[in-house]
Amino acid sequence: MKKLFLITMMLVLPTLMISCATTGELEKVQAEQKMIDAKADQALKDAQAAKAAADAAQVKADETSARADSAIKAAEEREKAAMEKEKAAVEMEKIAEEKAKKADAAFQKSMKK
């Protein structure tokens, strides 16, 4: 009888001990989960905020890029116009020079005997 009691105690005690450890652990895990959740929420919020900031930056970059594109285009157009103007001026100068040359040639011819 004494032997049986001993054996029973040997089986029951560890079981009690195991179940006590599992409950504490669970609470700890649950607390940790909460904290991680909160962290995750924060991280998500942060990520969303970062994304929003990134998106906003992208929009700004896109806008800037578009502005730069149009500025380049405008500059190119201006350059083209300036080149055309210069070309026209060169052309005019050429015509003026031609006229002067023609007049000079006529003059030189008129100076013969």
Binding site: A100, A103, A106, K109, S110, K112, K113
Partner: protein
């Protein structure tokens, strides 16, 4: 090689001012080849380069080459013009008359006791079709108020243009020989005056040498018969003054360019070898390519103290330019010729200036007329004078003028 102060072509500071400058007569120092001095002048409204050229005894060729890019007929008032009044004497014996065709300049040498004097004048020379001959000759005879016996070739040229010339043209404004002629021993060639002063410095003659009327008179008086005449063609001249070697490059006739350049480089290599120093060949090539017809310092011959080339002098604009064509006042009783109606003011001014510089002169001016500019030649005393001018405009300048009758008759 030591650098030589380059001043040719650069304009002087305010300190070098003069009212007058010598343009014809210069002493020639022993062993020296460069005479005269460069000068600058500020143009005034209405000046043309031919007017400035004549006043300073320069040819149109010389003033144009020295001032590239300047409008010959309508230069800007206030523009500063270089007067190329410094010359390298031709490589020829310094005796009698020497003419350099490439520079279009005549040099007359005279001994003055122990020193040598040179008088120089610009000339007009023959065209490429009828060139002035080179070589040695002499003055065979002289004539004041010569008659021009029209050569058959010239009569034929004029006939083709519808202009019938007489066999002989007596002295007077229509005589192209002007008032004085020196007949050369080479038959058919003369040194003479002109009734077209604006042709001095042009290749416009039939082989003769033309001088400004005021220059030919002096030459005529100073030149005895039998004076030796040497005609050379030297587009590249080198010479020294005050220990500095100068190069004067002129635009050569195309056919003689390679040969003349070869001669120049040979001479320069000899100088370089003798001096045992390297010449600034870049400067030589620049002067040759620019061909401005002014002496450019290229080498210091004797090593020693730093030598400086003479700076151009600033000359005051004279009150009136000698020989500048005058335009008579408008007269409602006179006849006129409408020579051109142009949209551009400069074009109109150029045509008017060219007409004004015809020989004999045809006065012309520009009228502004609602969006266009009219070139009006005149005044003429009568209809026949106006018609004669219109005919000359047609023959000489291919201008179809319209004769305008007087506003008021009688």
């Amino acid at each position: 090689m030591k650098s030589v102060q380059e001043t040719a072509g650069s304009f002087p500071s305010q300190s070098h001012h003069a009212k007058e400058i010598e343009r014809n007569k210069f002493p020639v120092a022993r062993g020296e080849d460069v005479i005269g001095r460069l000068a600058v002048i500020r143009l005034e409204k209405g000046d043309t380069l031919p007017d400035i050229a004549r006043h300073f005894s320069l040819g149109i060729n010389a003033i144009s080459a020295a001032n590239p890019g300047v409008d010959v007929w309508v230069p800007e008032a206030g523009e500063r013009i270089l007067l190329p009044l410094s010359f390298i004497l031709p490589d020829s014996p310094r005796k009698g008359i020497v003419v350099n065709l490439a520079t279009m300049r005549l040099f007359q040498y005279k001994e003055d006791g122990t020193s040598l004097l040179v008088t120089t004048y610009p000339v007009g020379v023959g065209t490429s079709e009828r060139p002035t001959p080179t070589g040695r000759m002499h003055v065979a005879r002289k004539a004041a108020r010569p008659t021009w016996r029209v050569p058959a070739s010239i009569a034929e040229d004029h006939r083709k243009k519808g202009d019938i010339l007489p066999k002989a043209v007596p002295p007077g404004p229509d005589n192209p020989l002007g008032e004085y002629a020196l007949y050369l021993s080479k038959s058919g060639y003369l040194i003479h005056g002109t009734n077209k002063p604006a042709s001095i410095g042009l290749t416009a003659t039939n082989g003769c040498l033309r001088l400004y009327p005021e220059n030919v008179k002096t030459l005529f008086d100073d030149t005895p018969v039998k004076t030796p005449v040497r005609i050379v063609n030297q587009p590249y001249l080198i010479g020294q003054r005050n220990g500095v070697l100068y190069l004067e490059a002129h635009a050569p006739a195309e056919e003689s360019d390679a040969l003349e350049l070869e001669k120049l480089y040979k001479k320069l290599r000899t100088i370089e070898k003798k001096a045992q120093r390297t010449l600034d060949w870049k400067k030589v090539r620049e002067a040759q390519a620019e061909a401005r017809g002014i002496p450019v310092p290229i080498f210091e011959l004797s090593q020693g103290s730093e030598k400086e080339a003479a700076k151009p002098i600033e000359v005051e604009h004279p009150e009136t330019l000698y020989g500048k064509p005058e335009i008579p006042a408008l007269n409602l009783r006179a006849w006129y010729v409408l020579a051109a109606d142009l949209p551009d003011k400069i074009d109109a001014q150029r045509i008017a200036a060219i007409i004004n510089h015809q020989g004999p002169q045809i006065p012309a001016r520009v009228f502004k007329k609602s969006g266009s500019y009219r070139v009006i030649a005149g005044p003429f005393n009568d209809g026949s004078e106006a018609k004669k001018a219109a005919k000359r405009l047609k023959i000489d300048l291919e201008i179809d003028g319209i004769v305008i009758e007087p506003v008021k008759n009688g």
